[in-house]
Amino acid sequence: MPVDHKRINGPEETVPYSLFTKLNTKSLQQQFKEQVRDEKRSDNRLLLEHRKIFIKTGLVSQAKGSAYIEQGKTKVIVSVFDPREIPNRTDYSLKGEIYCEFKFATFSCTKRRLHQQDTEEKQYSALMKQALDSTVCRHEFPNFQVDIYAFVLHNDGSALSAAITAAGVALAHAGVPMYDLIVSATLGIQQNIKLLDPSVTEQWLCEMPVPLDGKVGNQGVIVMSMLQSHEQISQFYQVGNLSLEDITDSIKILENACKELIPLIQKHLVKHVLKTMKNKSEDK
């Protein structure tokens, strides 16, 4: 998105009022206990349970392919545009390029986001590109570039993995040749508690060490994207402080989590194809 310098971004020095509310005075331990109690989470999910997922394709009429995903309250729109020649490039590239842009809507988080991409969004764009680069058959469109835009309407955690899953669906909808369906999942880890598909509060609490029963220990967040039928990990990103055993366990959990998502997406794509065929036959 071109930067609009004429737009007034509001005063720089504003802070969300929520910082001054009573909620904020609770200790981290209290906040964590509120989120996870007796193997149950605040929304009654089990620790390793996905939130409800809703997927719809073809929302954006201008784009070649598009997908909308709701993962709990997290809402992301991804649109894929027709291949075009790679801009500002003189030499011929044998493989096509993928261009990803990940953006949070200004109103999507508790703190207002700016219109310009910040470093977090740039990082997420790079991770999305990393995930999709090895998914798309890039040799099928040499010297061309496919643009993928992910726009987060509401961030309630796991926004990146929702965007990557949706991007896979949008690419399939656009008819871009792919090796496999790509799905992605996020895992939050706080000591021995692992939370699949964390909400924004859970994710925030997993990004820092929270003392539980007087101890601090390993914590972190992992985002993993997989090509399921090839058993390939196309993108892996971890932050925090985790030991090798934690990560090996997490990879297994995330693999199963990704497996669970596949039938949902397959079913949706089949539905979409049947609908298109029906529409075509009606047109005749």
Binding site: V15, L19, T119, K122, Q123, A126, Q130, D133, S134, T135, E207, M208, P209, V216, N218, Q219, G220, I222, L227, H230, E231, Q232, I233, S234, Q235, F236, Y237, Q238, V239, G240, N241, L242, S243, L244, I247, T248, I251, E255
Partner: protein, 409 residues
């Protein structure tokens, strides 16, 4: 740099035979050269040369206001500058992608409080904190940027001197801080747990570390791991390929092993091993004088620049020992000098190589101070088999004793 298929096959076969194109084994690093304290305007700096990769890191510190949501924390910011000198690919905005990738990975790696405690950079809750700018300049690209940058950053942060705050005046909403005027009255940052990044590259069936430019091109995918002690602080997949789960785990295992070895090698280079002991004429035990290596706990890994000897002799009887002190300091009172008064003769000796303060102190033999721009040293990270040297940090009380002597005098 473009490789043809034949060249790629050659590299691949080399990796399979565990004999890479430059003669290294799969888990070997190329030789490195590290200099610290070379930018005089910066609070800390380091330059690392890893074969053809050259990185200069300078640390600047400024006073800032903490983020409202984290009133107890200071700030740490990384900025990578890819100059077009490094490689023609960086011309124009060509280096932007690499720069963002490196700086984001570094901030992610330093983000955990177990790795680097930002709370120590806080001056006054919610009002004032130190903001540490880590500026990374890539002078030359010879592959393996992540590893080189992370080593240089750790060395530069280790070298950083944070000014001591002497006084804070609060007048309503106005906060004024007064910084100590003594030049050497500084605090060092705690970087012992700072992460080391290791790029593990998969070529063919095997994983290698420290790929050069040619090897980077042959790689199907690589994993960058940031390791702090025995934990991962960040893992990131780079390159265009995807990996199988078991390969990923193999890469992580290799990464953590190499990172720990690299960290130990770096720490060994940064710290200076000095003899630390003392004795006086009243003590019967003269091991410190005659054979300092025989003193139990008499060797310390100092984070100072000089090993020193201060020896006090009587003039009458001539040459009778009054006391001897072996220690380490940042700035010796006298580099190499003999000071006399009516009754005593004091020998001051200082040097900058490991365990160089083992002499009698009378002769100038300890002095091999090259007195150049900074302390330059070469670190090598050997292949598997050579276990890393265990680092023991045991600060002796003698340091304080020495300081006391200095001030009393």
């Amino acid at each position: 740099m473009a490789l043809c298929e034949a060249e790629k096959t050659f590299v691949l076969h080399g990796v399979e035979e565990n004999f890479r194109i430059d003669g290294r084994e799969r888990e070997d690093y190329r030789p490195m050269e590290l200099e610290t304290d070379i930018v005089s305007h910066a609070f800390g700096s380091a330059r690392l040369r890893l074969a053809n990769t050259d990185v200069l890191v300078a640390v600047k510190i400024e006073v800032d206001t903490p983020f409202p949501e984290r009133p107890f924390e200071g700030k740490l910011e990384f900025f990578v500058d890819c100059s077009a000198n490094a490689t023609p690919d960086f011309e124009g905005r060509g280096g932007e992608g690499v720069a963002i990738e490196i700086s984001n990975t570094l901030s992610a790696a330093y983000s955990s409080p177990n790795v680097f405690d930002l709370k120590k950079l806080c001056i006054l809750k919610g009002k004032k904190c130190w903001k540490v700018y880590v500026d990374i300049l890539l002078l030359e690209c010879g592959g393996n940027l992540f590893d080189a940058v992370s080593l240089a950053v750790k060395a530069a942060l280790w070298n950083t001197q944070v000014p001591l705050v002497k006084q804070i005046d609060i007048d309503g909403n106005n906060v004024e801080i007064k910084v100590s005027e003594e030049l050497y009255d500084c605090r060092k940052l705690d970087v012992e747990k700072a992460p080391i990044l290791v790029t593990v590259c998969k070529i063919g069936e095997h994983c290698i570390v420290d790929p050069n430019v040619a090897e980077e091109q042959c790689s199907v995918g690589s994993v960058v791991v940031a390791v702090s002690e025995d934990k991962f602080s960040t893992i990131l997949q780079t390159g265009t390929g995807s990996l199988h789960m078991s390969t990923l785990v193999d890469c992580l295992q290799l990464g953590i092993k190499v990172a720990q070895r690299l960290d130990a090698a770096l720490w060994d280079t940064l710290t200076l091993e000095c003899y630390t002991c003392s004795t006086t004429e009243d003590e019967s035990d003269t091991t410190c004088l005659d054979n300092p290596s025989g003193v139990v706990g008499g060797v310390t890994d100092c984070d100072k620049k000089y090993c020193i000897i201060v020896r006090v002799d009587y003039k009458d009887p001539r040459g009778k020992l009054a006391s001897i002190l072996r220690s380490c300091v940042d700035k010796p009172t006298y580099t190499n000098d003999v000071i006399e008064d009516e009754t005593h003769r004091v020998y001051y000796r200082s040097c900058r190589t490991a365990k160089c303060n083992g002499g009698s102190g009378r002769s100038d033999s300890t002095s091999d101070d090259n007195g150049s721009l900074g302390d330059k040293s070469t670190i090598y990270c050997p292949g598997i088999g050579d276990g890393a040297v265990a680092v023991t940090v045991s600060f002796s009380i003698l340091l304080f004793a020495y300081a006391f002597v200095r001030y009393v005098r």
